[in-house]
């Protein structure tokens, strides 16, 4: 399944852009933002789910990356570094706000719900708004009992199309650990679905 969050940018090209951005080339940094914004939104969306928090956090992540870029030594890929900033920022926000990380239909106004799903509508012959909203709500309820990390793993894998290696990078885990945890998380979600009659 091709990643809905887009293909990860080539690390080689990123290296050159990062090098230029470290030398105060604003256009190079803007290009990095364009390349990675979808995946940053995907990762943040796996943790937060509230749209109003999402854009703020994504912006905060890139601003933080910009001001820390001089200290980034390129030993890891830029994307890995950026995703780690994203995960940390999201968890910091959750700690600070002590907000419920899940989103239910009732949390969204009609207009917000329309915005969430508007992209899917464009030129797509998939399910309509209410179906997608219902699917999303059902999934969120099934994921409610999972550990935060397992929940993020499942969303990144099943919704955003991340590979096991990418998830391992984002969460700073070993690939085998991700696989094992994914299997366990799937089991729990399926059991929960059976229990709730979905």
């Amino acid at each position: 399944m091709p990643g809905r969050a887009g293909k990860p940018a080539s690390p080689t090209d990123d290296r050159e852009l990062v090098r230029r951005a470290q030398g105060d080339d604003r256009e190079a940094f803007e290009e990095l933002v364009r390349r990675h914004q979808h995946r940053v939104f995907a990762v943040a969306g796996g943790i937060l789910r509230r749209r109003e928090d999402l854009e703020d956090i994504a912006q905060q992540v890139f601003v933080k990356a910009f001001f820390s870029l001089k200290r980034f030594d390129q030993r890891a890929a830029f994307s890995t570094w950026l995703y780690k900033i994203t995960v940390n920022e999201c968890w910091d926000l959750l700690r600070k706000k002590k907000v419920r990380p899940l989103l239910y239909e009732s949390d969204l106004s009609e207009e917000q719900a329309r915005q969430v799903l508007s992209s899917g509508e464009k030129g797509s012959d998939g399910p309509d708004i209410s179906d997608r909203l219902a699917a999303r709500e059902r999934v969120e309820r099934l994921l409610a009992g999972l550990d935060e990390r397992d929940r993020l793993m499942l969303i990144l894998k099943e919704v955003e199309g991340f590979s096991i290696e990418e998830i391992a990078e984002v969460l700073d885990l070993n690939g085998n650990t991700v696989k094992v945890r994914l299997f366990r998380a799937r089991r729990r979600v399926v059991m929960q679905a059976k229990k709730s009659g979905d």
Binding site: E30, F41, Q59, V63, K179, R186, D198
Partner: protein, 170 residues
Amino acid sequence: MWNLLKKSDEECRQLQDLLEESATARPEAVCIEELSGDWPLVRRKHLADCGSCQEAAQDVLATREIFQGVASQAEEARPWFATQVMEAIRTRERELALPASLWSAFPRFASRLAWVATAVLLAGSAWLYERPVATPNKTPAASTQEYLFEAPAPPMNQDDVLISMAEKNQ
């Protein structure tokens, strides 16, 4: 026995790796046979014999079905986002530059500030030195104070201190 268990674990792990790869490679697969269609015979045999691997394969397919149609946060096009980020960076830079420019102005006024501070200090200490000192008045309460803090009368004999208040009252 232990070796047999270990071998079985290893086979399950390998099959689950294969399952994960096949699930990614065949997003359209809806049944286990479609997922395992081109697997080596030994793996298919293991899948047929192993209950936990069958369960894992079914979970992969069931989860995929559950997540079908869920909107991704990354799908939405946000063409303005990069511009917005660059604007936020410029704003932050301006905010950071403001205190820095305040501090850079400080050395220019430092000598004048030192003179003003010296003058204020001199004037202040001269005023404090010249200020008339008020003589404290002796209050009438001072004599009663001594009485209030007078020590209580000593007990009549040494054993009095060992008698409790209840016994004393009797």
